[in-house]
Amino acid sequence: MRLLSLRLKSFRAHAETSVDFATKINLLHGPNGAGKTNVLEAIYYLCLTKSFLTRNDAHALQRGAQFFEVDGTFQGEQRASTTVRLAYVPSEGKRLFRNGAPLVRLAEIVGELPLVILSPTDHVLTDGGPEHRRRFLNTTLSQARPVYLDDLLKYRRALKQRNALLHQIRRGGRLAPGTLNAWDEELVQLGGRIIFRRRQFMEHFAGFLAEAYRLLDAVGEEPTMEYVTVASTHDASDAESIAVRFRDKLDSLRRRESEQGRTLAGPHRDEVIFRLGDFEVRPYASQGQHRTVGLAIRLATFLYLRNRLEETPLLLLDDVFGALDARRAEVVLDLLNSDAVGQSVITAARPEMLARHVQFGTGDHNAIALADGSVINSSVTTGIDRSESLEKDEVNTVDATG
């Protein structure tokens, strides 16, 4: 899949910005605050209906503006071109239009325009809390399988309802017999399917993770993953039997749940343990290893989705090269240049190193200079000084990553 053009209106620093994209590598460069990352954010909005920077859509609204609007034209490998427009008005929320027709549910678009983003904070995948790992599972699986997202949204709703009920119980409210039981049933059916698909996904994903990690660290130990949930693999092999185990777990927690007024087990509490060889990444890895594993997980996500979907995902890299040592930067750039990756959009404050490896302005690759929320020039290499010393940059980043 390819993004042909993008338009931002009253979005962050962008009063009105239009960008055209080349088929392969697109570099957005310019000083901090120029609005580079917000172009990626706008693309993310169109593909996944939300931001990767904030949970509050109002944050993306330009100061003083009544609404923001983002639209983009995508060219599919299998499909004709699609225009997607997302409009946000604070009092009304978000609305999404595909080829001019409003979508009843925002979630409908997820997976149709697949996307993977690499960012300098990807180390949170292994050194952050379990919510980061669950978000990784949810975002990847939602794009891979629309039914997963449907179940996930329903699960969250059922969870909210069940928590409201447990809250009533905690305050001593009287319930009709069987009410909690009915919510348990809804929760475990949805949860069973979610856990089953997560487990299937992880079995499939392991190979892609090993492959991506080998690219970045040829001599390191092989990464593996373990999914920690309400049921183990050997005693529950399908969604139905996972649901049974989930229900047992809820039964055993009933007293504690009534005391705390919330649901204490299920997909929303699950954990993924990453290992390198025998040792667990989260507590024992160095900062540099967290970075490498985080990057490998994202690249593996790209490889997995490319393999699984009809369309090659769009790859966004937000200021990733600043934190990579020279060898890994080269590995990633080679990948972007190869047939394995389709189109990519990169942001960089200092584009010199990239300009030395990629021929921008040749048709396949495009460098776009931004300042103060507008495009200064496009499709040309002007403004990128190729002569600046690469070595100095490289030495610094090698030190930083250990």
């Binding site: 709703r157 059922a158 309802q161 009709a176 009410t179 039981n181």
Partner: protein, 211 residues
């Protein structure tokens, strides 16, 4: 424009309390009423009051009706062995439009939703169980004992609350021996029964699944 008339302003306020009516629409409606012939306005006002005075809930199915029992419950042509359970009166209208369904209805008046403080006792669930139980066992004394209910179709909307309410009712009715089916998922995801077109609903009725 209505600064000079408090009466008009009052009407605008009343209109804007209605669902989907904003202030602008309310002003347009008020301006229209001002121009209407007096007898039309009287008819409108009477119709509004009549809804409150004359319309009641059917004591059998809890659908809205002018006469108790409602025409569907009173009809000799309906199949009394089948009850279709729905959330709201509007769902009955949607299913009736298909022309496919010939059984009776039971209107719950909502779904179980702890977030809205609605439990089973706030809905007409106990009444449904009594209907099914009364028909199945019978007391053997009354001459006009109802024909036994052999199938209950649960046609709640296909969302989390609808599913949970269906499961809850299914558990209660299962114990009584009636066959309980859930309307099939031919409905658009997230779509309300009320908005489903007739063809979709007909297919859904045909493809209902046992619980």
């Amino acid at each position: 424009m209505y600064l000079t008339s408090e009466t008009v302003e009052t009407l605008v306020e009343q209109f804007s309390k209605l669902p989907t009516v904003g202030r602008k629409t309310a002003q347009r409606l008020a301006a229209y009423v001002l121009k209407m012939p007096r007898e039309d306005v009287v008819q409108l006002a009477e119709a509004l009051v009549a809804v409150k005075d004359r319309v009641m809930a059917c004591t059998i199915c809890f659908n809205v009706t002018d006469n108790d029992p409602c025409p569907i419950c009173a009809s000799a042509k309906r199949d009394r062995a089948v009850i279709c359970v729905v959330e709201e009166p509007n769902d009955v209208l949607a299913l009736e439009r298909t022309g496919e369904y010939r059984g009776l209805y039971h209107v719950l008046g909502g779904v179980i939703s702890p977030l809205d403080g609605i439990g089973p006792d706030d809905l007409k669930i106990r009444e449904l169980v009594a209907r099914v139980a009364g028909s199945a066992g019978g007391d053997g004394l009354s001459e006009d004992a109802d024909e036994p209910v052999t199938e209950v179709i649960l046609a709640m909307n296909p969302n989390v609350e609808g599913d949970t309410t269906a499961y809850y009712i299914g558990q209660l009715l299962g114990a009584l021996g009636a066959q309980v089916t859930r309307i099939a998922r031919g409905l658009p995801i997230g779509g309300d029964l009320e908005y489903a077109d007739e063809a979709t609903l007909s297919r859904a009725l045909e493809g209902r699944a046992g619980m």
